[in-house]
Every structure is written in structure tokens, then in C-alpha cells.
């Protein structure tokens, strides 16, 4: 297990130094342009279509979860009929 850990350490270091040599492009100015566009879109949706999908998924899960929690609460509050 220790050998695997050491190998992982080497790989991660090698990968990072390769990336530096490969010159990761500085995309910050592009992003600044996108997010500073005066289109009235709130920041949580301003990145594009994926933002909307992620938001809707999160909201759907929380709404469903809340309904399910309330349902389980009601079920737990009803005494089970003993035959």
C-alpha cells in the first residue's frame, strides 16, 4: 500500500510539472468578460446552460426531498394498526 502511495505521489508531481511545461492558458480575462456582461442574469446562472441544469436539478432534489421528509414524518406519526 505504501508503494502505491509513493507511486501516486510521483505521478501527481509529474502530471503537475508536465502541465506547467504544456502552458495552461490564462482564461481569466475571457471569464471576466462573460461574467461582467450587462445582461441582468444573476451570477448563479450567468455561466451558461449548464448552470441552469445544475440549478434545476438541485432545486428538484431539495423540493422532492422536503416532500418525502414530510411524508415520512406523517407516516411515523400514525400509529400502526395492530391486528
Amino acid at each position: 500500500m505504501l508503494r502505491n502511495l509513493l507511486a501516486l505521489r510521483q505521478i501527481s508531481q509529474r502530471t503537475i510539472s508536465t502541465a506547467s511545461r504544456r502552458q495552461v492558458k490564462n482564461r481569466v480575462p475571457e471569464m471576466q468578460k462573460i461574467f461582467q456582461e450587462d445582461n441582468g442574469i444573476p451570477v448563479h446562472l450567468k455561466g451558461g446552460v449548464i448552470d441552469g441544469l445544475l440549478y434545476r436539478t438541485t432545486m428538484a432534489l431539495t423540493v422532492f426531498g422536503t416532500c418525502y421528509a414530510v411524508y415520512e414524518l406523517i407516516v411515523a406519526a400514525m400509529p400502526k394498526k395492530v391486528k
Binding site: M1, L5, R9, S12, Q13, I16, S17, A19, S20, V24, N26, R27, V28, M31, Q32, I34, F35, Q36, D38, P42, V43, H44, K46, G47, L54, Y55, T57, T58, M59, L61, T62, F64, G65, T66, Y68, A69, E72, L73, A76
Partner: protein
């Protein structure tokens, strides 16, 4: 187009506080469902929504700061206060568990055999893996400081290397501690010794994982040119948190592993 005439950040309306609060509801009711009705659906939903809320909320903060420029000096000052206060609250959280440990260990009851460690408990040797863990975390404190100074000196390659080594050391600590947990001759159910040991070291381990995650996010942001030599508060906050985690370990090591 109207412009603000103050330096503060009036945030856009956001759904994440609501989804976060709901996620907390699902987590807690999910815990109750798991404990009492053997069902993990709600808890899984809670964990998933918590994770999604955290990722999107913090993503938005990166957008507001790095891409929109909202983090002026007064805003940054507020964030610094916030992080300091949060870490302080975490210090008090750990003080509670140290209080529990010292309460039981300074005056061991007859039920424990009147001794600490209690009769029948074989504690871990503090000079084996725990000492290595201490060295690992102390070294990571050095490497993160190295990363910070390299960042401030605009030395990109060194800052990336140093932060990578810091992350690696953090993951190494977690792996070593996981192995120790597996190999330990006592469990959490072994009286008050087991309880104090695993709850205190367990919460510390969770904080190492949280800190490592924060550092990994900083590493990605560092590679993507998000930080400048003078403005990199996200990195500083991660570094403060990491030093806090290191200090807690030192207290744990001295009190529970060595003296205990």
C-alpha cells in the same frame, strides 16, 4: 446604467441559502430515518443536496471575486473577520472533546481499574505511526508557507509544486490514519477510552479531509491563474484552516497519544 457609489458587495439573489437549509433538514431527518427505521434514502438525498449547494455557492463566490471584481478591500476585510471567527468557533468545538478526555483521564474511576489507560486497553505506541503523522503535518505546514511566499513572489512553478506537496502530505496523513484505525486493537465501543480517542481523532480526521479539499480547490485555482501576488484571500483562508488542523493534531498527539 446605475453604478454603486460604495465599496461593499450587494450580492445577486441566490437560491443556495434556501437549498442549503433544506439540505440540512434532509440530513437531520435522514439521520433519524437511518437510526430508527433503517432507511438511508433521506440521508443520501441530504448529502447529495448539501454537496451540490456547497459546490455551486462557492463556485459563485469565485465568479463574484475573480471574474466580477466585487472583493474590494473592505469586502476582503469582512471575509478575513469571518474566517477567523469561524476557525475560533471550531477551536471551541474541539475544546469540548478535549474537556471530555481530560475529565475521564485525570481521575479514572474504579470501573476503569483506577488507571489511565483503563485496564485491558492497549494504547497505540506514540512513537510509531502517530509520530510519523506529526512529522507529515508539520512538514505540510512548512510547504504551505513555501507555497504562499512563492505566490507572493510571482514564482508560479514553485508555488504550484509546494501546494501540490502540501496536498500530497495531507492525503498521506489521511491514508496513514485510516490504516491506524483499521489496525487499532481497541474500538469506539471500548469504554470511555475508545469514545474519547475515536471521537476526538475522528473529528480531527474529518477536518483534515475538509482542509485537503479546500487546498485542492486552491491548487486548481492557482493553476488557472485566479490568484494575484497581492490578492489571494482564498489561498490565505485555506492556509489558516490548514495551520489550525495542524495545531489541533499537535494537541491531540501530546494529550491523547503521548500523555494518555
Amino acid at each position: 446604467m446605475a453604478h454603486q457609489t460604495h465599496a461593499y458587495h450587494m450580492v445577486d439573489p441566490s437560491p443556495w441559502p434556501l437549498t442549503g437549509a433544506t439540505a440540512a433538514l434532509l440530513l437531520t431527518s435522514g439521520l433519524a430515518m437511518w437510526f430508527h427505521y433503517n432507511s438511508t434514502t433521506l440521508m443520501t438525498l441530504g448529502l447529495l443536496t448539501t454537496l451540490m449547494t456547497m459546490m455551486q455557492w462557492w463556485r459563485d463566490i469565485v465568479r463574484e471575486s475573480t471574474f466580477q471584481g466585487h472583493h474590494t478591500m473592505p469586502v476582503q476585510k469582512g471575509l478575513r473577520y469571518g474566517m477567523i471567527l469561524f476557525i475560533t468557533s471550531e477551536v471551541f468545538f474541539f475544546i469540548g472533546f478535549f474537556w471530555a478526555f481530560y475529565h475521564s483521564s485525570l481521575a479514572p474511576t474504579p470501573e476503569l481499574g483506577g488507571s489511565w489507560p483503563p485496564t485491558g486497553i492497549h494504547p497505540l505506541n506514540p512513537f510509531e505511526v502517530p509520530l510519523l503523522n506529526t512529522a507529515v503535518l508539520l512538514a505540510s505546514g512548512v510547504t504551505i508557507t513555501w507555497a504562499h511566499h512563492s505566490l507572493m513572489a510571482a514564482n508560479r512553478n514553485q508555488s504550484i509544486q509546494a501546494l501540490t506537496i502540501t496536498v500530497t502530505l495531507g492525503l498521506y496523513f489521511t491514508a496513514l490514519q485510516a490504516m491506524e484505525y483499521y489496525e487499532a486493537p481497541f474500538t469506539i465501543a471500548d469504554g470511555v477510552y475508545g469514545s474519547t480517542f475515536f471521537v476526538a481523532t475522528g473529528f480531527h480526521g474529518l477536518h483534515v479531509i475538509i482542509g485537503s479539499t479546500f487546498l485542492i480547490v486552491c491548487l486548481l485555482r492557482l493553476i488557472k491563474f485566479h490568484f494575484t501576488t497581492a490578492h489571494h484571500f482564498g489561498f490565505e483562508a485555506a492556509a489558516w484552516y490548514w495551520h489550525f488542523v495542524d495545531v489541533v493534531w499537535l494537541f491531540l498527539y501530546i494529550s491523547i497519544y503521548w500523555w494518555g
